[in-house]
Assembly symmetry: C2
Homo-oligomer: 346 residues x 2
DNA sequence: ACAAAATTTGGTAGCGATAACATTAAATGA
DNA sequence: TCATTTAATGTTATCGCTACCAAATTTTGT
């Protein structure tokens, strides 16, 4: 076993022939260091395999290096996926993720968030949908002057940095994919209206139909809530129609899975008689058969970026931030699996 | 906003009229403090809402207050559930969870674990199945003299504390439940043999049949791997039999979900013609229709206990530990939902 | 070419807790 | 009763790093 102690900043400083302050500055991305010394330091850091002691750093800098992650429903695979990715990328920056569930009782939740801020002194917060659009919460955070990054928010886009993918475009392309396969009777299950992405995905679907001059009856559009149950209800209605759709674009994978279940129940072959698509590409997409054609959300990237934004402290003084920089739209990818096929020939 | 600074240990000491060391001792459960002073301190802590500064504590005590969580497959709901619960209970102890995935390439993984131990200096590790039975890993941890707690391990039960539920009993009771509903043609899908619980669940099933003097043909027993896909394969075989089972006990929910999918495909009504049961009670159990009858694993408790064991430092010197104390068997609960019913009358 | 301003570096104190040792008070024993 | 052990409390130094300010160096303007 290697018993040699971990290198301290002093060791690095000595090896590089500079003061420990210079090392500290290099490591905290301080710009005021000449390139020559910076290189020396980097070299020494590498040679000694130096990793700063987080505890000491926190104590001295009075920063917590904690990032809070606020979510609403822990059971969605979206949350756990985000979490896992986030935790991973946290390790590289030395930050730590503190996870907190917000519940319907906003008053109570506000108290717990306040506690998180005061007691744990988080450096910043990440807000997942639908928490990211909670007006009261946003107001509280603003007032407390806390840095926060929102994921796929819907409202008040200019009050904080945010990260999303182009949900409108994704839905548009997915719908066009179905159209290219000959489908014209395409239904849609809208997501929970408490999340902005629902509207965007709905609009993308609508516009794809319109730009291809396809009309669908209003019965082809149902309201869901991103849950399996709501998908079940919607699918049952839609698949009980005399003139059924031959394809259904669901606003997420869980609802798509529900459509699949109803189709099975009703003896409708997927994808031969009915194509189904979702969004997310989480666990469900492949634990359902046939596997779902879906949109892959760049969750890994989202998590990384969110943490990076908070870690950088770039937006710690929001009053000075340029609103243009708030917007981070990441790329998505359509994953074709087994739940989609050419439209059935009459 | 409340601008008052957080109380420090000095403030508490002053208010209680003692030295800060006495406060420190009270807080770290040191016995060598008189009851009278202890009470004074507690009172002051409460009054000032004092929470020790974790960074300072870590720096001074040279303990990391980090706990590593090692898992194999991030996509199982089991992992994310454990994670979420663990993170929650960590907050109360001031510890933090560092999550790391172990992959098939054991050599590479060992390096990353070593890194975790040396660089992050975790106070202990939690090993989820099947990682908890990796011989090489266990040997390494032993050699490095790292505290670790294993969840549902299979082998070398006397080398470390471990936590599990009575998988044998759960499977036994579940099978008897089906028998009590009149089923005699009961099949089983075994879990991945790289996890000990698979064997236990299998044995529980077998013994329940035996104690009720029920024989089943070997075709009623299939080998799976805890994955949806493997469940699909197993279920297809079993449900293609001329003399099909009327009930299938799957070793986890994901495989049970697969059985359900195959049943739907084959136009077999669940639960009218076929009852299905799983184990875990994770997300899948209720995002599938009909909802699964299953065994609820006490994951919350498992996570809490695991963290508690490491935090307590009780087993930090394993050579002195009493092996009897290693064993922690928690209670399970059978959750009856819609996927089970009386056996069909011929 | 030289003073003034801007940039880069270094020295020192202190963040808030605990370890290790020193001290005081209480308990024990002859 | 007084020396001796034991238990309870206090004092000091230190953990590894960064904030803050001072010193040294470079750049700039005239």
């Amino acid at each position: 076993m290697n018993v040699s102690k971990r290198a301290r900043i002093k060791d690095v400083a000595e090896r590089a022939g500079v003061s420990s302050m210079t090392v500290s500055r290099v490591l905290s991305q301080d710009t005021k260091v000449s390139n020559s010394k910076k290189e020396l330091v980097m070299e020494a850091v590498k040679a000694l395999n130096y990793r700063p002691n987080v505890a000491a750093r926190r104590l001295a800098s009075n920063k917590s290096f904690f990032i809070g992650l606020l979510y609403f429903d822990s059971d969605t695979s979206y949350v756990s996926k985000f979490l896992l990715r986030g935790l991973k990328s946290c390790r590289t920056t030395g930050h730590h993720l503190i996870v907190d569930e917000i519940d319907d009782d906003i008053e109570k939740s506000l108290a717990s968030v306040t506690d998180l801020i005061e007691v744990t002194q988080v450096d910043g917060l990440i807000l997942l949908p639908p928490v990211c659009d909670n007006v009261k919460l946003l107001a509280t955070l603003k007032e407390a002057n806390i840095t926060f990054v929102r994921i796929s928010p819907d409202t008040q886009l200019n009050i904080s940095p945010y990260i999303c993918m182009d949900d409108y475009q994704a839905s548009f392309e997915m719908t066009e994919l179905l159209i290219s396969k000959g489908h014209t009777k395409i239904g849609h299950i809208i997501g929970n209206t408490n999340q902005g992405v629902s509207r965007l995905r709905y609009q993308g679907y609508l516009d794809a139909l319109r730009s291809n001059k396809i009309n669908v009856p209003p019965e082809y559009i149902e309201q869901g809530y991103f849950t399996y149950e709501s998908g079940l209800v919607a699918a049952k209605k839609m698949l009980a129609l005399d003139d059924k759709p031959t394809a259904i674009v669901a606003a997420n994978d869980e609802m798509a899975a529900a459509v699949l279940a109803v189709a099975n129940l009703n003896r409708i072959a997927v994808p031969a008689e009915l194509s189904i698509t979702g969004v997310d590409d989480g666990n469900v997409a492949v634990t359902v058969s046939p596997n779902l054609t879906t949109v892959r959300q760049p969750i890994q990237q989202m998590a990384e970026l969110a943490i990076d934004i908070i870690a950088s402290g770039k937006f710690s003084d929001l009053s000075k931030a340029n609103n243009r920089e708030f917007r981070n739209v990441l790329d998505f990818k359509i994953i074709e699996r087994e739940s989609t096929a050419e439209a059935p020939t009459k």
